[in-house]
Symmetry: C2
Subunit: 479 residues, 2 copies
Amino acid sequence: MSFAECMVNVSPGINDVLPTLFNFPDSFPFLVAQVAEASVEGSEAQTGPTILAGVLLSLVIIYLASKVVGEICARINLPPVLGELVGGVVIGVSALNLLVFSDVGNPDAQAFVIRFLQSTAGLEPSNVAAVSESISEVVSVLSEIGVIILLFEIGLESDLKELIRVGPQAAVVAVVGVAVPFVAGTAGLIAIFNVETVPAIFAGAALTATSIGITAKVLAEIQQLSSREGQIIIGAAVLDDILGIIVLAVVASLAKTGEIQVGNVIYLIVSAAVFLIGSILLGRFLGPYFVMLVDRLQTRGQLLISSLIFAFLLAYIGAVIQLEAILGAFAAGLVLAETEKRKELEEQVLPIADMLVPIFFVVVGAKTDVSVLNPFDPGNREGLIMASFLVIVAIIGKTVTGLAVFGQPGINRLAIGIGMIPRGEVGLVFAGVGAATGILPKSLNAAIIVMVILTTFVAPPLLRLVFQPTPETVESTQG
Amino acid sequence: MSFAECMVNVSPGINDVLPTLFNFPDSFPFLVAQVAEASVEGSEAQTGPTILAGVLLSLVIIYLASKVVGEICARINLPPVLGELVGGVVIGVSALNLLVFSDVGNPDAQAFVIRFLQSTAGLEPSNVAAVSESISEVVSVLSEIGVIILLFEIGLESDLKELIRVGPQAAVVAVVGVAVPFVAGTAGLIAIFNVETVPAIFAGAALTATSIGITAKVLAEIQQLSSREGQIIIGAAVLDDILGIIVLAVVASLAKTGEIQVGNVIYLIVSAAVFLIGSILLGRFLGPYFVMLVDRLQTRGQLLISSLIFAFLLAYIGAVIQLEAILGAFAAGLVLAETEKRKELEEQVLPIADMLVPIFFVVVGAKTDVSVLNPFDPGNREGLIMASFLVIVAIIGKTVTGLAVFGQPGINRLAIGIGMIPRGEVGLVFAGVGAATGILPKSLNAAIIVMVILTTFVAPPLLRLVFQPTPETVESTQG
C-alpha cells in the first residue's frame, strides 16, 4: 500500500473514532514539544510547553535587564550587582511589571510575559493562573539555585584557614552587628514613635540581617574577597545569618506564645554549630577520597557533577534543618577549596555562576515593591519618617561593628562596618514574616521595606568607595 | 532600654495581638528561607522552600544516577549517554520511583523524594499535591533547558558551511528516513495485524522520528560530530525533526477532521524554512555586530549572557511558531559558531552543558515506563509481538537511509543509517499524542513505546560500533 493510498483510505475509518476525539487540542500549539508527556491529562500536557516558553522569555528579559543596567552601572563606576538589582526593580512589580510572580501578588494577567504568551503562544485565559504560577515557581527556584551557586563559588574562593584565623574578630563583628541595631532600633521605635513592643521588636530584628550574597558579590567584584577585611566580613556575614535565624525564631515564638521557646533556640544554635563545623571536619577528612574518586571517573563532567552533588546535598541538609540552603552551599565550597581540585573547579563554576547568579539579583529586585518610597503618596509619609530613623540606625548600627575588631592593627575598620550594611533578601524575609503575623502596622512594615531597599542599594557603592580600589583593580574588574 | 528589658516588656503587649496571629505557621519550617516572599499568602509561602529542597534532592538523585550508571557504561565500552538513560529508568517510574512526575501519573505520595520531604522537611500531607506538581514542573523545565543547552552546544560545534555542503545528502536521508518507516510500518500493521487505518498511520508516524539529542550526544562522545558522516546525520536529524512535526500535524488533523488541513501544513513548512534560513542569514549579517557589542561590554559574563539571550530568544520563537525550542537553540549555536567568539563560547558552555544535559537524559529515562517490556505479563504479549514488527521496521527503515546518500564516495553509509535510528524523546511525543487522541488500542500504544525504548537504547552502542573508534579517540573520550 502506498503513501497516497493510506491518505485516501483514511476517511472511512476516521468517522468511527471521531466521538472519542473530543479532548483533542484544537490547534495543538506546541503539540510536538510535549516531550515525553506520555500520559496526557487535560490542560497539564498543553501548558507544559507554554511554561517552558514563558520561562525562556522570562530569562531573556532577566538577562537583558541585568546586562543593560549592569553595564550602565559599570560605566558610572557603580558595582554591576547594583545594576542587576536596579534592573530587576525596573522590570519588576514596581515598574514595568514584565515578569510574573504569583507570590508577591501582582495580578498574573497584567504581567507582560503572560500577556505576550497569550498573544504569541496561544495561552488560553483558563490556563493563565496555572501557567503563571508554574513560571513564577520555576523562575524563583532558578534564582534560588543562583544564590546557592553564588555561595558555593564564594566558599570556593574563601580560605578556610584564614576564616578560622579571623574567626574571633568575625564573631565579635557579627554579635555587635546584631545587638546594636536590634537594641537601638527597638528602643527608638518604642521611645520616639510610640510603637507597641512586639512590632518594635520585629522591626529591630529586621535591622539585624546582613545579606551575605550582596556583600560577597561586591567584594568579589572589587577583588577584596580574600583580603583580611573581606574574610572578616564573609565570616561575620555567615555568623550573622545564623544569628538572624535565631533572632527570628525568638521573635516569632515571642509573637506567637508570648514566651521564648528555649528548646527551639538551643536546637537552632546546636544544629547550626554541628552542621557548619561537622560538614567542614567531615569534608576535610573525606577531601582526599573525593579527589581520588573524581580522578577515577571517566565520563564528562566528573569533577563538576561530583562537586554539585556534594554542594546540593549540603544545601538540602542546610534547608531541612531550618538553617539555610546557602549556608550548606557555602560550607561545600569551603571544603572543596581545601582540595587540590580547587582551581579546576573554580574555572568550571565560573560560567555556571555567570548564567545563574544574575537571575537571583534581578529577581530580588523585581520582587521588591519600591512604591513605598514615593513621598508624594500621603499614605507613605508616616512610614517614610519611621524609615529615616530605621535607615540611620541600620547604617550606624552596622558601621560601628568595625570598631569592635580587635588585635588587627592597620585593618580597614570602616570597610568592615560598611560591608555589613546591606540587608538584601534576608531583610525582606524578616519583613515578610512580620507581614505574615499581621501584627506590624502598615506604616512600620513599609518603613522596614524602605530600610532594606536603601541599605541594600547604598552599600555596594559605599563599599567600593571605602576600599579605594587601586587603578589596577579597576582595570581588571572592568576587563 | 536594654535588650533584657525589651524581652521582659514584651509579655503584656503580646496578648493584645494574639487573636490576629491565627495564620502564623506553627513550627515555621524554612521560615527564614522564604526569600523575599514579602506578601505571604497561606500555603504558597510555606511550600516555596520545601519546593527548593525537593528540587535540590531531585538533582542530587539525578546526578548520582547519571554518574553511577554512566561510569558503568563507560567501563564496559557503552556510551555514557546510554548510562544516563538507563540510570533514569532505574530511578524512575518503572523501578525505584525516586523522583516525582505529576504528568506521567505516578502517585505523588509514593515517590521517594516526596516521602523523604515529608519525613525530613515537615511537608504536610495537605501540601503534597501542590509541592509534587511544582517539583515535577521545575525538574521538567530544567531538563528541557538541558536539551536546549545541548542543541546550542551541538550547533556551536557544527560547521554551517559543511552542513550546507552536505545539505542535499542530509535532505535525502531525512526524506527516505521518514517515508520508508512510515509506509512500511503503516502498511504492515494494516496488512499483518489488521490494525485500523488511523491507528496504523499514527504508529507509522511515530516510526518517522529521530532523536537529534541522543544521536548528537553519542556523536560528540565518539568525536565524530564534525566528520562528514556526523554532519550528514545532524543535518538529516534536524530536517527529520521538522518533517516529523509536519507528519504529526497531518496525522493529527486527519484524526480530528478526517481531512488534511493543507493550510496548516503549508504554514508549518513555510515557518520552518523561514525560521531556520532566516535566523541563519540574519545571524550571519548580525554576527560582526554581536562580536563588537560583546567586546564593548565590561561586566562579567558578557559573552555568555549575550549568547544565552540570543539562544533563548530563538528557542522561544522556535517554540511559539509551533516548531521546537531545540531547533531555535541549534540555529543560535550554528550562527555563533561562525563568529570569532566560537572557541571562547564553547569553553564557557561546556560546564553549563555538563550541569544541565544529564538532567534531560535521566528525566527522559525516568519518565519512560518500561513495564510494557515485561514478557511475563500476559497483557503485554500482543503489544510485544507488534513491537517486534515495529522495531524491525524502525531499524531497517532508518538503516537503509544510508544507501540513499549520493555523490559521497567512501562514506560510511551504515553509520549514517544507524545514526538515524534512535527515536528517543521525539518518539515518546508521538506516543503521547497518540494516547491523547484515545484512538490507539492499548496494545499498539505499548508497542510504540517498546519500539521507542529499544531503538533509543540499541542505537548508541551500535553507533559506536559502526564508527569503529581508533584507540586514540577511545582514550580521549574516557580521559
